[in-house]
């Protein structure tokens, strides 16, 4: 057993921290929440050049070799700085789906573009039911002359408005679990995208498929067999999301702890009061448990071990813990933390958004229970 990073991993963390501290300030995050595109192309290209997008991609597709653990280190830093933009939907969810189910031709065409920052992807999964279940997928795909015709509506699709490819989960038979994944080019005829206004200013979209024609070779994986792929992508994405969340939680600690050391009331720093100390001790306990559960799941994915149970455990725990940690932070900082100009609000909003992505705590506890019963 070993709980330490390697020295290379420490360097990765520091270098990511340095770049994002410079380029992804609180000011930038606020601007991008208002901005329609929602991210800086310049920073995107810089990250691509540094190889951040190549971390899940094998070398034969111009990547740097699959390394989920190292990716989790980068994602933590992105969470720490609230990096806006389509990195997660492209590199994590999109990349994972392609790696999991893509044909050689599909991988050869798309993965090098992800690795080099030339292609952005979004995974369109949820619909009006707002749940991660095969039953909730109603958008239908009908076969006609060697093509599939997709019709229906996807909701809460991350960064679809800037994506080149949308991976769309569609129903291909009446059997409840008969879901098929399609690679749709965003500019295809019949796709209409509308940006939704969200609490955290992250870019979620409604995507309308109006008789969109997709050639059969754009099926990702096999016909009717999309659900197991989605499930795997969901679980790995959940772990990756936990990495972002634990980074965000670290930043919250860095906001709160210096504050309670410096802020004086009743003639002493508020951090000297045990009522405040105990809240802070709980915060540290949340963050350390979150981190180790996440690293363990990421490590298992990297090593090729079974990871499903650990993934659900870590997402359930992180979903609750990150929210509680921010709430404790708000409580000990007091009124100042409630101000828009104070960065804590950025993390409050993103904690809730992240909690609901890829299954919340109730969702993953049920999956843990399925493993027990």
């Amino acid at each position: 057993m070993n709980y330490d990073f390697t020295s290379e991993q420490n360097i990765l963390k520091e270098s990511a921290h340095k770049l994002l501290a410079k380029e992804c300030t609180g000011q930038h995050v606020r601007e991008m929440a208002e901005d329609e595109q929602g991210f800086s192309l310049e920073l995107w290209e810089q990250m691509a050049e540094l190889g951040w997008m190549s971390l899940l991609i094998p070398e034969k597709y111009e990547g740097s070799g699959v390394n989920f653990f190292d990716l989790s280190i980068f994602l933590s830093e992105m969470g720490y700085h609230c990096l806006p933009g389509p990195f997660f939907s492209t590199v994590v969810s999109g990349g994972l789906a392609l790696l999991e189910a893509g044909s050689d031709a599909q991988k050869g065409k798309i993965l090098p573009d992800i690795s080099n920052g030339r292609c952005k992807i979004s995974l369109a999964w949820m619909e009006e039911e707002g749940r991660y279940s095969p039953e909730g997928i109603k958008l239908g795909a009908r076969k006609k002359n060697g093509h599939f015709i997709l019709s229906g509506k996807k909701l809460f699709v991350p960064d679809a408005h800037v994506s080149d490819i949308i991976i769309c989960a569609a129903r291909t038979s009446d059997d409840l679990k008969s879901i098929t994944l399609f690679l749709a080019e965003t500019k295809a005829k019949g796709i209409r995208i509308q940006l939704l206004d969200t609490m955290a200013g992250d870019k979620q979209c409604e995507v309308l498929f109006d008789h969109v024609e997709i050639p059969e070779e754009n099926i990702l994986g096999e016909l009717d067999r999309g659900w197991p792929i989605l499930k795997k992508v969901l679980l790995k994405s959940a772990v990756a999301k936990c990495a972002e969340m634990s980074g965000g939680a670290e930043k919250v600690m860095d906001l709160v702890i210096p504050y309670v050391k410096g802020r004086k009331q009743f003639g002493r720093p508020i951090g000297a009061f045990q009522s405040v100390q105990h809240q802070c001790a709980n915060m540290l306990t949340y963050i350390e448990t979150m981190k180790y559960l996440m690293y363990q799941a990421a490590w298992r994915i990297d090593k090729g071990f079974s990871f499903e149970k650990e993934a659900s455990i870590c997402k359930a725990w992180a979903s609750d813990s990150y929210r509680k940690l921010v709430a404790l932070g708000h409580q000990v900082i007091g009124g100042v933390g409630f101000m828009e100009e104070y960065d804590l609000q950025l993390y409050f909003k993103r904690a809730k958004a992240a909690e609901q992505l890829f299954g919340d705590a109730d969702f993953h506890r049920e999956w843990v229970a399925r493993g027990m019963f």
């Binding site: 057993m1 070993n2 709980y3 330490d4 990073f5 653990f69 702890i257 309670v260 050391k261 002493r268 720093p269 951090g271 000297a272 045990q274 405040v276 100390q277 105990h278 802070c280 001790a281 709980n282 540290l284 306990t285 350390e288 448990t289 180790y292 559960l293 690293y295 363990q296 490590w299 298992r300 650990e310 455990i313 359930a316 725990w317 109730d362 506890r365 049920e366 843990v368 229970a369 027990m372 019963f373």
Partner: protein, 388 residues
């Protein structure tokens, strides 16, 4: 990072498991239960000597002191195996006092004590708490006066669990009452059979016994002083960091019993385990058990890398004991009125163990530092928050 046991450790753990399975008699389990999982009873001693002859009581100690020169991770894993098997799990000498002697004791002291401890031949009981010194251990009152080559000890200890079955007292006493706080205390080893020691039982609401220990001019050989005189408080703090490494597996076993019960018990025409609220509650415990496991082995990782666990031990103790109480309370909820039936009672389920664990779990968040003390330590040492 790496979250696996090595193949060598896995092999040893397999041997430990089959040993425990073969050697755990109903008499041993009954005695362990009666004594509150401490070691010192007749059955426990027989079992532990055989167990320790494999080096398993102190696998991370050097071979010259009866260890195997293996890792603290293995030691932590073996303690979990023992806790899960309901055999004695609290070893003051091997797991709390021993590491302090190893760190701070003289060569003579190491030679005299460590080998006996590693072989499971002797056991200590903790002699810290006094009526006026609970959470505040710096408020000790018991006096040890050096006269020639021996200390003369007088005063009173309370809540000294295992003193009635242990051989020696791991005693904290004032050696310089005029010194500044924290600077007048020493740690020493007192023979509990010494003339002048009077042990009186205090019965807990969990049914097992702890003790008041009275010292009336008791002689303790000067060579039994641990480390330097008046440095005791600091040794005691590091001993506490070891004590706070808390194997939770005894409660994990309770959890597994509850899960099995939920699977096999039918209410309203279906297994209890189909109830979504029950599923959520039990899954939450499963998650906390996993989080605790990672906090627990982090402590072993630290020891293996030459560090003494500090606020990290407080965090694990806090997390584990709160999880223990969540487990017992959830068990009471799921078993409903059956949970209250005592062992041997008509209609008792799970051999009436639920209510017993529910009672016992009360003290888990109190001894070795209350949850409030643990949070203080996490805040002051872990986050460096100001004390005033």
């Amino acid at each position: 990072m790496d979250f696996h046991f090595s193949n060598e450790d896995k092999k040893t753990l397999k041997e430990v498991r089959s040993f425990i399975k073969a050697e755990t008699t109903p008499e041993l389990i009954a005695e362990t239960h009666k004594l509150g999982h401490i070691y010192g009873g007749k059955e426990g001693r027989r079992f532990i000597r055989k167990f320790a002859s494999n080096g398993w009581l102190t696998p991370n100690w050097p071979e010259e002191y009866g260890g195997l020169g293996r890792s603290a991770v293995l030691n932590a894993a073996i303690r979990e195996e023992m806790a899960y098997a309901s055999v004695p799990v609290v070893f003051v000498a091997a797991h709390m006092a021993g590491p302090v002697i190893m760190h701070f004791g003289s060569d003579e002291m190491k030679k005299e004590w460590l080998l006996q401890i590693a072989r499971g031949e002797i056991e200590f009981s903790l002699g810290y708490t006094e009526p006026q010194a609970g959470s505040d251990l710096s408020a000790l009152d018991i006096r040890a006066v050096l006269k020639g080559d021996r200390f003369i000890v007088s005063g009173q200890k309370s809540f000294n669990t295992a003193s009635h079955v242990a051989d020696y007292h791991w005693l904290a006493a004032l050696t310089d009452p005029d010194a500044k706080r924290y600077h007048g205390m020493s740690l020493m080893i007192a023979d509990l059979k010494s003339p002048g020691i009077d042990i009186r039982p205090m019965t807990t609401m969990a049914g097992w016994q702890t003790n008041e220990v009275f010292y009336n001019d008791v002689e303790v050989p000067g060579k039994n002083l641990v480390g330097e005189i008046n440095h005791g408080f600091f040794y005691l703090m590091s001993a506490l960091d070891y004590e706070r490494m808390y194997p939770l597996a005894a409660y994990e076993k309770v959890f597994d019993m509850i899960v099995k019960y939920a699977k096999e018990t039918i209410t309203g025409g279906q297994p209890v385990s189909k109830n979504p609220i029950v599923r959520q509650k039990l899954a939450q415990i499963k998650i906390q058990l996993e989080a605790n496991r990672l906090l627990y082995y982090r402590l072993a990782h630290m020891v293996d890398h030459g560090q003494i666990p500090n606020y990290q031990a407080s965090m694990q103790k806090l997390f584990a004991t709160e999880t223990a109480q969540l487990i017992t309370n959830t068990g009471m909820e799921i078993l409903g009125p059956y949970s209250q039936m005592k062992e041997g009672s008509k209609h008792a389920v799970l051999s009436g163990q639920m209510e017993n664990y529910y009672r016992t779990s009360v003290v888990e968040t109190i001894y070795a530092g209350t949850s409030e003390i643990q949070r203080n330590i996490i805040a002051l040492r872990g986050l460096k928050l100001p004390s005033k």
